[in-house]
Symmetry: C2
Subunit: 219 residues, 2 copies
Amino acid sequence: MPGNHTPQLLKVQNFTVSRDGFGAGEGQSLERPFGHADPRTMIAWAGATASWPNRTDAGGSRGLDDYFTRDFHHNIGAEIMGRNKFGPQRGPWRDEEWRGWWGDEPPFHTPVFVMTHHERPSFTLSDTTFHFVNADPATVLDRAREAARGKDVRLGGGATVIREFLEADLVDTLHVAVCDVELGSGVRLWESPKELLDRFHLEVVPSPSGVTHHLFWRK
Amino acid sequence: MPGNHTPQLLKVQNFTVSRDGFGAGEGQSLERPFGHADPRTMIAWAGATASWPNRTDAGGSRGLDDYFTRDFHHNIGAEIMGRNKFGPQRGPWRDEEWRGWWGDEPPFHTPVFVMTHHERPSFTLSDTTFHFVNADPATVLDRAREAARGKDVRLGGGATVIREFLEADLVDTLHVAVCDVELGSGVRLWESPKELLDRFHLEVVPSPSGVTHHLFWRK
């Protein structure tokens, strides 16, 4: 077991972007949560693995990509996400019926902090509780760390929220899977992974599935 | 979470061999547990990672190799090892003072089944209990699966024990790290990883650290 010196990390995990650096396409809506991008193509690398949570049969690959899929919950005690990951609505809530994309059993199993200018009451679905917070990244991270009870915090995206936390220099590790799709426009994570090299180590690991895993950790 | 169809796998994890296929050198002894091989060189790739259990400072890499190090305990409920991994003695026990290489806090945290022709009483150190079993691989695996209570079983090595379980076709996945060292002789795992391709998928993933991860799973 790692010693007690282990800090509570803020980690981006399994975040997929296009070859040209977009985490989602343009025109996000209820029908097209990733806009003009096809999420099935973007996350095909994860969906093919044995540890993919929505898998309905016993198959699936157990190679490199499966390590990333099954690491998703490792020592994670809370998630932070942007409102655009939580749902397709923009502006004030017209009603509070929307409870996320994930049905009655969300795949988080921890407290989730949704960053939004439009707060609403917390609610719980199975073992996931959603909180809505109108605050800056450092304040939201403080709340998530407290809720994580010593474990790490996942920064779930989308790309805009990840950029905000990078700008505030609050991110400790990033795993970004670059898939072999070109989107041309949308919600951008980066122009190039090189933008992060002043602050992060980078390992670039091509997977046989066609995605290229980018692993960053603080210098 | 994976569904209930998930079987209890038998997994080889983080097993390191030389470029020429040896898991340990010749002349294993109390002073040289890996014989003429230098274990520090063999497992340097794991020792450099942030998740290495014996790490005493907060540093360490968080790239590809760290995924393998921190995956070591993922869903593992028991370990099977050969007697030569447990200790340097051969033949009947002269005394039962020897309690493994790992001190009072062994890194397993589960029941461990030691395969030996010379049984002795079980004992517990911290949260690891060692059992000594004189039986064939299938029987030992049955006992380990029962002790693992639905979780997977790790096949901890050495190379001879892994070969026995492969011969009995009981292994579901293998992660073997091939390091850039030539031993010339010793305890052999394989002549070549190609020997397993009739029964296993294989992904070969070179790491920036210099080891090459070999990931096998059943066809």
